[in-house]
């Protein structure tokens, strides 16, 4: 066998493939790992019910997904970015610099964030945001000065809490969930506990006080989890006193191992989240590159299928999996049908 011939044919094969690469016929999606299960459920049903191939859904986090989304227009860039937070002003700007100007924002529903501990562990059954602030803060105001967080045991914060050392597994900073955790739990707790007011009284301006509120302790009692919820679950399983932050859908799949606690006295469930009683929830989104509609086959059909009543409605498979259906789903359907881009106009 001649190696030259062999190598030449291999190179020819690669060259042929490169030209064939010009036609992509499936939708490509990347982004938030929270949205990933929902997007893959829809992608699977889409592949079953339409003649288009099943879309490819990758995870990697909201920020990473939006970064790839904003890389430009063309078949080697993704069509849809999933995000567990709204797109930021600077991301829209970065998109525009690369020619991605028309972005359609689609809100698919709401996701609850729950606080859970080991089934057989201490009785963590009820939390208040203020208690989490007291447990997580790096520094807190005491008698007019900022001191390092002295709390190491939950019972130091509130005698109603179990006598167990503080050990919290919270989402790492690359997760969209961290933002919600900081704003809806820590910052809220900071205000509830009066620490915010105390800081303002000490002469801090509002931004500095908010920053100080949301600074999480780094002495090892709060552990950032950069991986997925499965990693948090593994940490909780090996640590009786651990309390972790999970998505509602993840908790509902692991109720045999996890015990959920109430927040502000409300049990997390799709019902309490949809009525707004349960305080820690956030909208989930996906973003469509309008320039790809009509170029990538099935892109618009996929988006319309995603927000259809039978999928994203209260009785659909997404709701069964743990998504809280959006009461304003009809408006979202109109946005997709009219291809309304961010900043108005069609």
């Amino acid at each position: 066998m001649s190696f030259t011939k062999f190598a030449a044919s291999a190179l020819a094969m690669a060259a042929v493939s490169a030209t064939a690469a010009a036609a992509r016929d499936q939708v490509q999606i990347a982004g938030s790992s929270t949205v990933l299960p929902y997007a893959s459920i829809v992608a699977e049903a889409f592949g079953e019910n339409f003649d288009f191939p099943t879309p490819v859904v990758e995870s990697g986090g909201s920020s990473a997904g939006l970064k790839r989304f904003c890389e430009g227009v063309g078949e080697n860039t993704i069509d849809i970015a999933n995000a567990s937070r709204a797109i930021r002003e600077n991301e829209i700007k970065a998109c525009a610099e690369n020619g991605v100007t028309d972005i359609i924002e689609v809100r698919i529903g709401y996701d609850g964030i729950v606080f859970a501990s080991q089934q057989g562990g201490p009785a963590f059954t009820a939390f208040e945001p203020a208690q989490w602030y007291m447990a997580m803060a790096a520094e807190m105001p005491v008698d007019g000065t900022m001191i390092a967080n002295p709390n190491t045991n939950w019972s130091q914060i509130d005698s109603a809490l179990p006598d167990a050392p503080i050990m919290a597994f919270i989402p790492g900073t690359k997760h969209g969930t961290r933002e919600v955790f900081e704003e809806k739990v820590i910052l809220q707790g900071c205000e509830d506990s009066g620490a915010m007011q105390a800081m303002l009284d000490m002469g801090m301006d509002e931004d500095a006080a908010e920053g100080a509120c949301m600074a999480v302790r780094t002495d090892g009692l709060a552990v950032d989890i950069d991986g997925d919820y499965t990693e948090t679950l593994a940490r909780i399983e090996s640590n009786t006193n651990g309390v972790g932050v999970f998505g509602l859908a993840f908790y509902e799949n692991n109720t045999d191992k996890l015990k959920v606690s109430t927040m502000g006295g409300v049990v997390p469930s799709t019902e309490t989240i949809s009525t707004g009683e349960y305080p820690v929830s956030r909208p989930l989104y996906f973003y469509i590159k309008k320039a790809h509609i009509g170029v990538i086959p099935g892109l618009k059909d996929f988006a319309e299928f995603f927000v259809a009543d039978e999928i994203a409605g209260p009785d659909g498979p997404l709701s069964d999996y743990g998504l809280v259906a959006d009461p304003a789903l009809a408006d979202t359907q109109d946005i997709v049908a009219d291809e309304t881009v961010i900043g108005g106009g069609a």
């Binding site: 190598a7 094969m13 490169a18 299960p37 992608a43 191939p53 045999d256 069964d320």
Partner: protein, 451 residues
């Protein structure tokens, strides 16, 4: 008497020698004995770890190869599935899987009416809840493939939902589902009745080996097959590129290249490349193949190219080692009878070095087969539920996953049923790796020559 004392004396003497050992020798001998003990202990620890690993993998993974199936007769009414009545599959496609779903609840109602002992207060919709979400799609595909089955009642075998399957495998119990909204105790009671009636059973599931990935809502339908095909195409690319390039490069460096500082630098850098973490090759692949050359995302071709870069140093190093081990007398003899340099290499040196080259290549391929990190960056890790490719071009270019990437993906999903499948996937991957390494060992045993 003297004989007896003489006979007893040697027994008390040192075992090996009559020589009185001094303290230093005894210390050295003791050190040697200790070292042997450490060595045996190290091997024992290794063996125990291996045993624990294998027991864990087999214990947790074998469950994935069996699956719970439910046999159910479903009536396929033409008036709801083919509203126009013309049996045209294109028209009938308008009825989505959501249109087929109610048929399952009706089928359970009909079954209870027909067979005694199955009475249950359970809502028929809840009964259908013990079936996999893939059941409506199975019905729809069946009807669209052959519209003439309409208006008949056909017996189907459906997958049971992951919770029911977990119940059959002992993972789910009535206590553990107290807070679970996906299944209720009443549903498990109904499952017990079905088992007694004989229409629900657990058996070997070929779809786990041949099927494609499934979404988070239906772990019971997920399989390794398509990612196996993805791995196969990647290995094909690696083999067709890395073997010729690697062998050509090593032959030139070993036999033809002048020994100077340039070849020294190349040599050192090949060794350095072999030690570069694989994720680095992933970033390179993203930058060069996808962003610059515009090859498609998630394609096994790109995965194969990246793994080729990673495997090349391994192949070059092992090829050069086996070329070096061919004694110079072979080359001299060939040159002596008038062969050209190239003839001596291709007719004599290369065939003698071939077993070593093949062994190195197979080890390199096995390493590439188990690699996940570089695939993360080129989009081969994620939900990629494509169907098995129908041609070589589509196998190379259509999005696909790879076996280790599929395992990684399953391990991080929420439903515990996926965890079991991740272990099952590890078993399949290990079977491949062990097979490849065995072939490498056998080749070496069979063809190796010593001079």
């Amino acid at each position: 008497m003297t004989d007896m004392t003489n006979a007893a004396a040697p027994a008390a003497a040192p075992k090996s020698s009559l020589l009185q050992q001094d303290a230093r020798t005894r210390r050295r001998n003791a050190a040697e004995t200790r070292f042997k003990a450490y060595g045996i202990a190290a091997i024992a620890v290794g063996l125990v770890m291996l045993a624990i690993l294998l027991v864990t993998i087999v214990g947790r993974g074998t469950g994935a190869f069996t699956q719970t199936f439910i046999t159910l007769e479903v009536a396929l009414p033409a008036d709801t599935l083919d509203k126009k009545g013309n049996r045209d599959p294109e028209e009938m496609k308008k009825v989505s899987t959501f249109g087929y779903k109610p048929l399952l609840a009706q089928a359970f109602e009909a079954k209870i009416a027909a067979t005694g002992g199955l009475d249950s207060d359970l809502d028929p919709k809840k009964m259908a809840g013990i079936l996999s979400d893939s059941a409506p799609a199975q019905l729809r595909d069946f009807v669209l493939a052959d519209p003439s089955v309409l208006d008949r009642t056909v017996a189907f075998e459906f997958l049971a939902s992951s919770r029911v399957d977990g119940y059959m495998k002992g993972r789910v119990s009535r206590d553990s589902i107290a807070q679970d909204k996906n299944i209720s105790v009443e549903q498990l009671d109904f499952v017990d009745k079905l088992i007694a009636e004989g229409s629900l059973e657990k058996r070997f599931n070929l779809d786990f080996i041949t099927g494609s990935d499934a979404s988070d809502a239906r772990p019971e339908a997920a399989g390794m097959g398509v990612s196996m095909v993805g791995s196969f195409f990647m290995m094909l690319v690696v083999l067709t590129l890395a073997l010729p390039i690697g062998v050509a490069a090593s032959i030139y460096l070993e036999e033809f290249a002048p020994k100077n500082w340039i070849t020294d630098v190349i040599e050192v850098n090949i060794s350095n490349l072999a030690a570069v973490p694989s994720i680095v090759f992933g970033i390179l692949g993203l930058a060069v193949f996808i962003n610059y050359m515009h090859l498609p995302n998630s394609a096994p071709l790109v995965g194969g190219l990246v793994l080729t870069l990673m495997t090349l140093p391994t192949i070059i190093i092992s090829t050069r080692a086996s070329l070096k081990s061919v004694p110079p007398s072979i080359r001299d003899a060939a040159l002596g009878v008038g062969a050209s340099k190239m003839q001596s290499v291709f007719h004599h040196v290369l065939p003698l070095a071939a077993p070593g080259i093949l062994t190195g290549t197979i080890i390199g391929l096995a390493q590439a087969l188990g690699e996940t990190a570089p695939l993360l960056l080129i989009g081969m890790v994620g939900f990629i539920a494509s169907n098995p490719p129908d041609s070589i071009a589509s196998g190379l270019l259509d999005p696909n996953s790879a076996m280790p990437a599929q395992i990684y993906e399953w391990a991080k999903r929420a439903d515990p049923a996926f965890y079991e499948r991740a272990w099952g996937g590890i078993i399949i991957l290990l079977v491949f790796l062990v097979t490849m390494n065995t072939i490498a060992v056998l080749l070496r045993r069979r063809f190796e020559r010593r001079w």
